[in-house]
């Protein structure tokens, strides 16, 4: 199954309660670049797309991966985007993405002035690789067990999965909820 070759994927955790405005994240992300808070990647730039409704929000652009204080679906959250290939297969990339998203969320929550919190009960996973993972039933059937396995390990318990955006032109997506 070619989905195991999929390289680009996103994992999003949703902000809870009253999330801060996107512009509040801009100085934080700039500082992350200055302080090299991600020690195995090069962080490059910060872009504020707050003027685009339900868009990517504030982007922290990196070489291998980006972090977004994302506003898509009309819900703010921390979205990790693995964009340059990691060695291994999709399972490994999913594990890495979950780990980094959770780490990123904890790091943002540690930014006291931001007063932001991210729930761990709901996660969106999107596979941004229409070559290896088109948004169709076969791809979802192959993706579902992988996501379940990785999510249960990362979130520490059983999860339920719900396919999102079936039949649309959007990417193959699955919503994970802790059972």
């Amino acid at each position: 199954m070619t989905i195991t070759h999929a390289e680009r994927l996103q994992v999003k955790l949703y902000a809870s309660a009253t999330p801060p405005a996107g512009e509040d994240l801009v100085p934080v992300f700039h500082r992350w670049i200055r302080e090299h808070v991600v020690d195995d990647d090069t962080l490059i730039d910060v872009v504020d797309y707050g003027h685009v409704k339900d868009g990517p929000g504030v982007a922290l652009i990196g070489h291998g991966a980006d972090y977004f204080y994302d506003e898509s679906e009309g819900r703010k959250g921390l979205l990790f985007f693995r964009k340059r290939a990691l060695e291994g297969d999709l399972r490994g990339r999913l594990q890495d993405a979950f780990t980094r998203t959770l780490e990123g969320a904890a790091r943002l929550e540690g930014e006291g002035a931001l007063d932001v919190a991210f729930g761990r009960d709901e996660v969106l996973v999107r596979i941004l690789d229409r070559l290896h993972a088109p948004n169709d039933d076969a791809s979802y059937a192959a993706l579902e067990p992988l996501v379940r396995e990785v999510a249960e390990a990362a979130l520490g318990g059983a999860v339920t999965l719900e396919r999102v955006g079936a039949g649309t032109k959007g990417p193959l997506s699955v919503r994970v909820r802790r059972a």
């Binding site: 070619t2 070759h5 680009r8 512009e23 801009v26 100085p27 700039h30 670049i33 200055r34 090069t42 490059i44 730039d45 872009v47 504020d48 797309y49 003027h51 685009v52 409704k53 339900d54 868009g55 990517p56 982007a59 652009i61 070489h63 980006d66 898509s72 964009k83 340059r84 941004l128 690789d129 229409r130 070559l131 290896h132 649309t168 032109k169 959007g170 990417p171």
Partner: protein, 756 residues
């Protein structure tokens, strides 16, 4: 099982030529990675595929405490001089005359989402740009674009760039005829044509169906074609040699009455003359406007006419004329009346600014206002679906960074707007003061000086109220982050041009305020700088100017006429309260740019403990030069052209002398002495050189002196000299900032006192 590739997936589904070209480009990427292709050659190769550089691609980023290296894994590998291989870049996607299908928009949405940052950006030349793209992702991106009929070939580089045209072509109420098929034919004819491969610089072409409205903006293009009909036959007025950039030039008429069948051969002849005689060594003087200035329009016309006679007949010149209707659009739904009575007020407000009746009864062009030209992949898919549902493939990017949906039935307008609004695309104000445009500026452009997008974003928030007033509503506000003028500030009612200034030993982002540009009549005339304001004061500057205009205009006087009447001296007085940056201690926010928490450029400049108190003499000289430029502009406005030229040149001498004295201590005020000393101490040493255009601005000074431009009384030449003087002063400021308030010991030690 080997992984699939886009190459294998799309095999046999791409146009043969495009497929071959993309394979070739992929091969060139491999060669460059192996060190088997020269970096300069590779740079031009990728540029011709639309693969462009982006800020920080030299591997350095100022984090607010000074430039710091960015550690990319590629090591020393480059994709051009000073351009790190792994640094993300920008992909420009040519959209000829802005027309795109729903399928194409869907594809660009997917690519933005997968390979960029999920944002599509509409440029002022009807392109779409994607940012933060890795070069190794570009061949597959090009394949996928080719699969829906898009080529990125010649989107950048020294080539014929995207051919633009009025977004209303074919549906406009007062056009002479639809220029779409001509723009399409020229796009196809020139793409990859051997006669356009040897240019020294880029070449931009625009079409318009009328002389009166600005949608085509032909007058600032290298070549522009304005359609008209006489005795039932179609002609074009062809203009040549226009351009914005550092010194804007209004195109001149090459052919008053070019028959339609002569349009392509005439353009081919112009291309051959430009390729043969245009400057190749100095990029700064390589656009065709310089060739026109060198020869004069009459001689250029003669050369083109001679060249035309030598051309071998090409059936493509006229084949398309037999099927001009091939580019016609068919409405998807029957036309109908627009019902505003009883509709929501928000819809009526949108309809007032964003719906324009077509020539065809019952149909409208709906302009989708895009803030800063940006829309997300999700929004792009919504737009594509709405086009499918209501209009068919009738989407066009506009030069004001919006997207137009043509052939909207009046009966569908409300439903369309509701769907747009639900997707965050239903904002009113298209083409008004609430819809300012901007180049990328410091956000992503490696040449940006100030944050044009940051300022424009702030203006969008503040100017909405001015769109409610019919007096200020039609004003155009445009911002460029540097002198290359991609934001087209020269033709705005209120334009901003990014510059930087030294205040108390620290850099402060500023914008020159450019007033008096004319957007109408195809951008007929360009504005002039009236002064500089700190970036953080620019919104107040707009408020000051618009308030004064609202209160002081006479009758239905245009903004341009008002500026002309009250004079730039009065305007400078109006702006005085917002022209000065407070000290850093008073308000450090002035020392950061819009939307950017980093201190602006302090990493380049050491700050001594007395920096806030001492004003070096050089700053007095630069201030005096600035004052002389204002006086020159006033003289120009008063019609005293020769005096204006002399004063403009004097301002250059003053600035040059200030820098010479800063470095070398002494020089007499005689222009010849200043020129010689300036050449010796600042040009021969390359201290004055701009990092990108090198000695271009110094050349303005030298040429003004050598050609005695200060004696001219030709209004156009004086206008150009005023622009050059302004740029020379900006370069002087930049040079002073690089040198620091105290000349570096290394520089001072190298320099001998000026010869007297």
């Amino acid at each position: 099982m080997p992984a699939k590739t886009w190459k294998s997936e799309l095999a046999g589904r791409l146009p043969e030529e495009l497929d071959r070209e993309i394979d070739l480009f992929e091969g060139q990427i491999a060669l460059r990675k192996q060190g088997k292709m020269d970096e300069r050659l590779f740079a031009e190769t990728r540029l011709r595929r639309g693969v462009y550089g982006q800020r920080y691609d030299n591997g350095l980023r100022d984090d607010g405490t000074g430039p710091k290296p960015l550690a990319f894994p590629c090591g020393e590998l480059t994709k051009g001089p000073d351009t790190v291989w792994d640094a993300p870049g920008m992909q420009r996607i040519k959209i000829p005359y802005g027309k795109m299908s729903a399928e194409q928009l869907d594809m660009m949405a997917d690519l933005a989402e997968e390979l960029s940052d999920a944002i599509l950006h509409v440029t002022t030349r009807q392109d779409i740009q994607l940012h933060f793209v890795h070069i190794e992702d570009t061949p597959d991106m090009h394949r996928r674009l080719a699969s829906v009929g898009i080529t990125t070939r010649e989107a950048c580089g020294n080539s014929v760039r995207n051919i633009t045209a009025c977004q209303f072509a074919g549906v406009c109420n007062d056009e002479s005829f639809d220029v779409t098929p001509y723009a399409e034919a020229m796009t196809r004819f020139l793409l990859g044509h051997p006669d356009v491969q040897e240019f020294g610089r880029k070449f931009k072409i625009a079409f318009s169906g009328c002389d009166d409205h600005p949608c085509g903006l032909v007058t600032f293009h290298d070549l522009g074609a304005v359609g008209f009909v006489e005795d039932g036959k179609r002609y074009f007025k062809v203009v040549v040699g226009g351009g914005l950039g550092a010194v804007p030039v209004v195109a001149k008429v090459l052919a008053e009455k070019c028959p339609e069948e002569e349009l392509l051969p005439l353009t081919q002849a112009v291309s051959r003359v430009f390729a043969r005689l245009g400057e190749k060594q100095s990029r700064a003087r390589a656009r065709i406007k310089f060739l026109m200035q060198k020869f004069g329009i009459d001689e250029l016309r003669r050369l083109v006419e001679e060249e035309r006679k030598l051309l071998r007949e090409d059936p493509r010149w006229t084949d398309y004329l037999s099927h001009l209707s091939a580019t016609d659009e068919e409405p998807l739904r029957p036309g109908g009346p627009l019902a505003l009575d009883g509709a929501p007020a928000t819809f009526r407000a949108w309809a007032e600014t964003n719906l324009r009746p077509q020539a065809q009864d019952g149909y409208y062009v709906a302009t989708v206002t895009l803030p800063l030209g940006d829309f997300s992949s999700d929004q792009a898919r919504v737009l594509a679906d709405l086009a499918r549902r209501y209009t068919g493939d009738t989407l066009r990017c506009t030069v004001e960074q919006n997207v137009a949906l043509r052939w909207v039935s009046g009966a569908d307008a409300l439903a369309l707007w509701e769907a747009l609004d639900a997707a965050g695309l239903g904002a009113p104000g298209a083409g008004t003061i609430a819809d300012p445009t901007s180049c990328p500026g410091t956000d992503t452009c490696k040449l940006g000086i100030s944050s044009s997008r940051g300022l424009t974003g702030e203006l969008r928030k503040r100017l909405t109220v001015l769109a409610d007033d019919p007096v200020t509503r039609p004003l155009h506000v445009k911002t460029s982050g540097c002198f290359n003028s991609c934001g087209q500030h020269h033709v705005a009612d209120i334009g901003f041009l990014g510059v930087s200034r030294n205040v108390g030993g620290r850099k402060v982002p500023h914008f020159n305020v450019v007033l008096g540009g004319q957007w109408t009549e195809n951008a007929k005339s360009y504005g002039l700088v009236v002064g500089a304001v700190p970036s953080k004061s620019a919104p107040e500057a707009v408020e000051v100017l618009t308030r004064a205009y609202q209160e002081g205009r006479e009758g239905d006087e245009s903004f341009q006429a008002w500026v002309q009447r009250i004079g730039k001296g009065t305007i400078r007085k109006l702006l005085e309260p917002v022209s000065k940056a407070p000290s850093y201690e008073e308000d450090p926010s002035y020392y950061r740019d819009w939307g950017d928490p980093r201190e602006y450029g302090t990493g380049d400049l050491g700050v001594g403990e007395c920096a806030g108190e001492i004003v070096p003499w050089v700053e007095f000289g630069l201030t005096t030069s600035e004052q002389e430029q204002y006086e020159a502009q006033d003289l120009y406005d008063a019609g005293q052209h020769q005096a204006a030229a002399a004063k403009a040149f004097a301002s250059m001498v003053t600035a040059a002398a200030a820098l010479v004295r800063h470095l070398a201590g002494q020089v007499r005020d005689e222009p010849s002495d200043v020129v010689a000393a300036f050449r010796r101490h600042l040009v021969d040493t390359e201290l004055f050189f701009d990092p990108f255009v090198k000695g271009k601005f110094a050349d303005y000074f030298f040429r003004a002196f050598e050609r005695r431009k200060f004696e001219t009384d030709d209004p156009e030449a004086v206008h150009a000299l005023l622009d050059e003087a302004r740029l020379f002063l900006e370069a002087s400021h930049a040079c002073y900032q690089r040198l620091g308030a105290t000349p570096p010991p290394s520089a001072a030690g190298l320099i001998q006192p000026a010869a007297e």
